[in-house]
Symmetry: C2
Subunit: 468 residues, 2 copies
């Protein structure tokens, strides 16, 4: 019989906490409005139709391509149609690159084709291709430690598997091979890099993605292999004979060109100069239609703002939706945004980005002063019924958001379940069918609570620590 009593005490404590928080943070009337917005999102949000529209009517939109241009036009028109008060673009400069072909095949001892794709901004082989023996490394560190004579003239094969996790925490260790592998291979005189895809699937898709190319003197072709093809090379190598691979790759580095951050605002009624930024990135990789990465995020933040714009009055502060350009090729849009707005960053009350697919949100992180935790606690009252638990105070704000956090801008992160995200990430298989409309509704419900209350709250979060 102890349990009900404890529950009662807990309930009482919670009620007291709410009362105390209300006194210092959010008004009950705003919480009530947020609750209505949340429930409206769960019933009728249109986020799925936005991502459907983007993937069907635009599709692939790598920064600096024609698809990117179409995406910029699409985003402006869509935000106008959705009733935003202001819609505008800000130009950014992007490095451009044209993907050509990428063929690979084992020529000996067991000839058969391999499924590969060029990593972003990768080099070409000589005309007609190149053939060399492969040499396997457990990870990029093993390649970095290897003597050059072991690698010279060969194809370095990094065979690191990525671990599956809801948080996506396996990504960093595996992606190190992608970001640093080509440079390491080139510096040791390798003929090329073959990288087991940074992904958690076992489908015959290679996962593309960005690598560090700046300042590499003699860049070599760098290709991701699908997981089954990496298994194949591994199995051939176990048989003890040298494995020869032929690569034939053509890509083109192009002159720099323009892209755009696309921005839509619901202008604040009391403090229009104070801004809550909710973001996503508009660009995608070029082999899928960018449904999960990051069409879903674009849809969620657009729909969040639409629901708020439908209220009878504007929120106190301005809600600014920023669809960043060129995220995939190095957070280019976010970096140039922060540079261009260096003098306005203090007016950004909070930043948050949706860029982790379309899974259910399960955790709410913040990066705010501890003295303001009552606000997050009040948000949690509306988030908890959505299956969301309170996380830590080390919110990154998302990839583009992290660029703002590095300048001291407070941030929040609504973590999506990323268990399956890296099955599709940066592959041709990132398509609309991978998006569950019900999950998107839950996402919008959480986003609208966080976003609306951040625009309405008394006071602000000041600046925050930029430490990890």
């Amino acid at each position: 019989m102890l349990k009900p009593l404890m529950n009662f005490t807990g309930g009482l404590a919670a009620a007291l906490l709410v009362m105390s928080a209300q006194a210092t943070a959010l008004k009950q009337e705003d919480i009530s409005v947020a609750e209505v917005l949340r429930d409206r999102a769960l019933e009728s949000s249109d986020a799925y139709s936005h991502v459907e529209s983007l993937t069907v009517e635009v599709g692939p939109r790598r920064a600096g391509t024609k698809g990117d241009e179409r995406a910029v036009a699409w985003a402006q028109q869509k935000m106008k149609d959705l009733g935003f008060d202001r819609v505008y673009t800000e130009q950014i400069d992007v490095k451009r690159w044209a993907r050509g072909h990428a063929h690979a095949e084992v020529t000996a001892p067991f000839p058969q084709p391999l499924v590969v794709t060029s990593l972003g901004y990768g080099a070409s082989t000589p005309e007609g291709g190149l053939t060399a023996e492969i040499v396997e490394f457990a990870d990029v560190d093993a390649l970095l430690k290897a003597p050059a004579r072991k690698v010279k003239g060969k194809i370095a094969f990094i065979n690191k598997r990525m671990e599956r996790a809801r948080t996506g925490e396996g990504y960093g260790p595996a992606a190190a091979g992608r970001s640093k592998g080509m440079r390491a291979a080139a510096e040791k005189g390798a003929a090329a890099l073959l990288l087991r895809s940074v992904g958690t699937d076992s489908d015959r898709f290679a996962h593309t993605g960005m690598m560090s190319v700046d300042g590499v003197e003699n860049p070599v072709p760098a290709l991701a292999l699908s997981a089954p093809d990496a298994n194949l090379l591994e199995a051939m190598l176990k048989r003890g004979k040298p494995v020869q691979v032929k690569l034939n790759v053509h890509n083109e580095a192009l002159a720099d060109g323009p892209s755009f951050n696309v921005i839509g605002e619901v202008v604040g009624r009391e403090k229009p100069e104070e801004v809550v930024i909710i973001g996503a990135h508009l660009d995608s990789w070029d082999e899928g239609t960018g449904a999960l990465d990051d069409g879903a995020g674009v849809a969620v933040v657009m729909e969040t703002a639409r629901l708020i714009a439908e209220l009878p009055q504007r929120p106190r502060r301005t809600l600014r939706v920023v669809l960043f350009g060129a995220e995939e090729i190095g957070l280019v849009g976010a970096k140039q945004y922060v540079d261009a707005h260096a003098n306005d960053l203090e007016k950004i009350i909070m930043v948050s980005e949706s860029d982790f697919g379309a899974g259910k949100i399960w955790r709410f992180d913040t990066r705010i002063p501890e003295s303001k935790f009552a606000i997050a606690d009040q948000m949690m009252q509306l988030l908890a019924p959505l299956g969301i638990k309170r996380g830590d105070n080390k919110a990154s704000g998302g990839p583009d958001g992290s660029v703002f956090v590095a300048q001291g801008v407070p941030a929040m992160t609504l973590h999506q379940d990323g268990t399956d995200y890296f099955d599709y990430h940066h592959t041709p298989n990132d398509t609309l069918d991978k998006v569950d409309p019900e999950n998107l509704k839950q996402n919008v419900a959480a986003w609208v609570v966080m976003s609306f209350l951040a625009t309405e709250m008394d006071g602000d979060f000041g600046r925050v620590s930029t430490e990890h």
Copy 2:
């Protein structure tokens, strides 16, 4: 307290059934040996290592290609290594074809690339490609019924979805579009055929496969679209504007050439001229490594025979493993086998083929005289503990086996669970990682029971009805 009594009665009835069956069919000592073989298979069968070897050391092996040649050499060597008494090949003639490239893209109103693959033996576009409007049909029957003016000069798009089922029964209705679609499109003056892939996945792989090309006067390019790409066209069409697609396809029809059925025998000790055929097909489609289709089947029947060859004595009859050539392009190896052996078919006691992936076996069908059902019942005593239930008496014997059944040869079919089979079937994604080693052990356990007892039984099944 009723239940234990009922169980006892059931057990008694089963025991009586066994005694009566033993009198007319299988000897208890053979059943005991079969049980040992079954349990050995469950513990230590090497089927997985056979399919690993085939996929790693040979890989794709479409009939009439270099890969096919390597597969034929591999199969002979492997069967010799496994201790078969006789290993030999029988030449067959196959139509040959070289797959070139297949590119497709929507050019208007929403330009973006599509993932496609040529159906087997498909034609090319004119140099430089062709661009035409697509016109959608629910299935091939709708195309067949359409007036030619609706199709002429356009790309016929058959958008039939395949139903998922353990039995694979959704395959026939969907595959009709593949087998008959190009002919129908060509006869109505279409520019080309685009077919929603015959498959149950939602991955961005197009499923290739055979179509009827003989006697089509003006064959047109015929391409399978991945499911997400078919969804994309469907979504574009719903927006009401004409959808233009550009196709650029190159393939080459080649002169006929040789391939081979590869045959290995464990020769019978008493009636060597009487034969039980267990088969699989050695060829595969060319975009995957043919792990499920039909490397797994090859491995299962090879391992079945190996286990039997390890016994202290040879079985009464000959166990003949036939690895059919050119199954994928029209059961060519089986048809030529039956033609070449027309006079020996009476000596084939039973035929069975494994060609439905690597799922667990769940059902045992026969095509034998009802008077011999006691034999199947006795087999079931050893199969039931493997999770297998008795099916009907309409066994097809498998795709190649059905060619024998059409000549009155008795057949058995051990049905695999095909729930996922058509997720991978005829795609680049048919690779070793899709094969579960534990499932293969269960397969071999069932096959060794059926095969061994068929070689040992008293009497035979005579000839059977060829009706479906």
